[in-house]
Symmetry: C2
Subunit: 103 residues, 2 copies
């Protein structure tokens, strides 16, 4: 079953995979080099990322080229949206009052 986006992102190795895919599409082998994890481990993470929609994959010769997809990251961005007022909104009087209350 497909895992939810936050659980997927909780894994450091998976975030590093996403980072690596930000610059360019990569084959599994390319990802294995530079990640310092075994190939099966990488394949498993790629499966999780694929099933959650973070990446897609095309076949080129003997290799599988993975590619970053925007969908789930956009969703996280959207989830974050109602929280943005915490740091974007101007502090009004009430807000300042609450700030002064906390220790």
């Amino acid at each position: 079953m497909s895992t939810d986006a936050f659980t997927v992102l909780a894994e450091p190795t998976r975030r590093r995979i996403l980072d690596a895919l930000r610059d360019a599409d990569r084959s599994v082998g390319e990802l294995v080099d530079g990640l310092g994890v075994s190939q099966p481990a990488v394949s498993k993470h790629l499966r999780v990322l694929r099933e959650a929609g973070f990446v897609s994959c095309r076949t080129a010769a003997r290799q599988r080229i993975y590619r970053l997809e925007p969908g789930p990251l956009r969703a996280v961005d959207g989830w974050l949206d109602p929280y943005r007022r915490l740091w974007t909104r101007h502090l009004d009087a009430l807000q300042r009052h609450l700030d002064s209350q906390e220790q």
Copy 2:
């Protein structure tokens, strides 16, 4: 020890706590009602959230009032930043070409 922001957010109950704190500060008891989880469980999640900086807490009479803090969510927002070009940037010719390649 303090857990990293993504791991903290991976827990659905913790996200619901953050949601509840978005509108107003809440005591532990208020959070327990409406979450449908035992009080010790909520206290444990609050501890995780506190140690990771997502919330702060002040003492009022016998209660502890928890409050949402912007820091870690901002950090997640920042992490997301280099990925935003995936969906904000205009598709150029190369991008369209790659799109047509994937199946």
